[in-house]
Amino acid sequence: MTLKVKYFAVLRERRGLAEETVEVEPTTAGGFTAWILREHSLGLPPALVRLAMDGTFLADDEPLRDGAEVVLIPPVAGG
């Protein structure tokens, strides 16, 4: 399936881009998050990164929809 991935904050910096389109096997929110963090050596454990699809955060076991736009949100600390 095809996903449009948007990165925020430190993930955007580490990935070096704000968004990209990726091809993956059908998967869940948790599975995709773990895969993409590992794939690009983004340096954050999956438990600390949240994924949102269609404007809503997903639980780790929720499936992703083909063609969806997903947003990856890392913790942000600056103040």
Binding site: K6, A47, L48, G55, F57, V71, P75, V76, A77, G79
Partner: protein, 478 residues
């Protein structure tokens, strides 16, 4: 006007106060003109008994407020010629800043509070009783006029704002933008929490401070700012770091909590404490030109619903590391103040959303948050285990592995003093490489080493660790 040096004592007669270093005197004299009219002399009259009582109260208030060593006020009555002194205020304090502050505060208050009237005798032969200044009450009367005119606020909304109390934790970039907006809006009570002192590198974005504040406590300087902006607001300065020991007491003291910190640990601690005590929390964080903001209400989803595992502070960087520009914390701080105002007047708040904004592209994303079943944060528990891949000391890692090697991954041009026994192999050389022995990685703050270790572990490498807080953390603990 002349600047001179002398090796002889300067003669200014004053009571000896060996603990005082700053003496400030204000001498208000009769000027030869007022509002364009030529003045010949002035006449002062007082309601003696009341003036003495109110004046005495004023001096004692100043002494307590500014921690003075001494304060003395003499006001003249009767007919005065041009050039004569009408009032002289002398103040002594350990340091000059308080002496200046107190002396100016006394003369401002005196003009408002102490019943002394002034008659101006003009060169034209006419004379007139003059009111010195609007009273603080009068000034406050019009203060909220423009706010009360908003249909969403009105007199009722203003009354709610005036009755509210807000705990503002963190007086950095975000807090410095939240504070003027809330003090200006007339929030009744503000409790300001920060253990830090003002640093020169803060000033460009923390625009409530002045250069003269460098080295002084942020809580106290911010409180001074708020009081000067709106004296009718009750402001308390708490120069402490919010932690498990004081969180409950501080959060309990207010209705709404604003998180302006740059510490993930503090954010999650505030989240749990607010949930436990049924308070509303407005939280925000910034990174580069981006940031996020949302509100945790007593019934809504919380920060821990979003991140079940509390991130450690080393896992992402703060503004001190990443840099930031004045407009970014100002923008998100104003959004936080807006959440407070909306919350108080019953307007919409970001209670089940997270708002992301990018100030470069001017793009906004709102993401829906939800209650995670069994969330410990919602139950008021602060979840703060150290993850398995992080250690607090070198010894902790050595206890796990007798054959541990310690590797400093900072660049070769960074400060040279890694811990004893460590080898320096910069970050870049670890791409695709796996250490042969169990390894503790160390960098300046724990951010880079954490990233490297998380990456290795995601590839199946175990027995690799990151030192939480890095070399800086080790220095601070010593």
């Amino acid at each position: 006007m002349r600047f001179s040096l002398t090796r002889e004592p300067i003669t200014v007669s004053r009571e000896p106060s060996p603990g005082a270093g700053g003496f400030v005197t204000f001498d208000g004299r009769v000027r030869d003109n007022a509002d364009g009219q030529s003045v010949l002399r002035l006449e002062y009259e007082a309601f003696d008994e009341m003036a003495l009582a109110e004046g005495q109260k004023l001096v004692e208030e100043a002494a307590a407020r500014f921690e003075l060593v001494d304060a003395d006020v003499v006001h003249r009555l009767g007919l005065l010629e041009v050039g004569e002194s009408a009032v002289v205020i002398t103040v002594a304090a350990p340091h000059r800043r308080e002496a200046f502050g107190a002396c100016e505060w006394i003369i401002d208050q005196l003009k408002w509070r102490v019943p002394i009237w002034k008659k101006e005798h003009y060169a034209s032969g006419e004379s007139e009783w003059v009111l010195a200044q609007a009273s603080p009450t009068e000034a406050t009367d019009g203060l909220y006029d423009r706010q009360i005119r908003m249909p969403e606020i009105g007199a009722e909304g203003q009354q709610k704002i005036g009755a509210a109390s807000v705990l503002l934790v963190g007086l950095g970039g975000l807090g410095a933008a939240v504070l003027p907006a809330l003090a200006g809006a007339g929030v009744g009570r503000l409790v300001l929490v920060d253990a830090d002192t003002v640093d020169a590198t803060n000033l460009h974005r923390q625009t409530i401070y002045r250069r003269s504040d460098v080295g002084r406590g942020k809580a106290e300087r911010a409180a001074r700012f708020a009081k000067e902006l709106n004296p009718s607001v009750d402001v308390a300065a708490v120069p402490e770091m919010l932690d498990a020991a004081n969180a409950e007491r501080l959060v309990q003291s207010c209705e709404i909590v604003v998180d302006g910190t740059d510490s993930l640990a503090t954010k999650f601690l505030l989240n749990a404490t607010c949930k436990r005590l049924g308070k509303t929390l407005v939280t925000a964080s910034i990174h580069g030109f981006e940031g996020q903001v949302f509100t945790v209400t007593p019934d809504g989803p919380c920060l821990q619903c979003l991140f079940p595992e509390t991130p450690t502070d080393g896992c992402v960087d703060t503004c001190a590391v990443n840099g930031t520009v004045s407009v970014v914390p100002a923008f998100f701080g104003v959004l936080q103040a807006n959440e407070v105002v909306q919350s108080l007047i019953g307007g919409p708040v970001l209670m089940d959303e997270l708002l992301l904004f990018d100030l470069a592209g001017k793009s906004m994303t709102k993401l829906r948050r939800w209650h995670r079943p069994g969330c410990r944060g919602c139950l008021g528990e602060f979840v703060s285990e150290t993850p398995g891949w992080e250690v607090d000391t070198v010894e902790e890692a050595q206890e796990r592995h007798a054959d541990l090697q310690v590797v400093d991954i900072r660049e070769l041009d960074e400060e040279p003093d890694g811990p004893v026994g460590s080898t320096r192999i910069p970050m870049g050389e670890w791409a695709g490489r796996v250490p042969e022995a169990p390894t503790l990685f160390i960098c300046a703050s724990g951010a880079r080493s954490g990233r490297l270790v998380v990456d290795m572990r995601s590839r199946g490498v175990s027995r690799v660790y990151s030192l939480r807080g890095g070399v800086h953390g080790m220095v601070e603990r010593n």
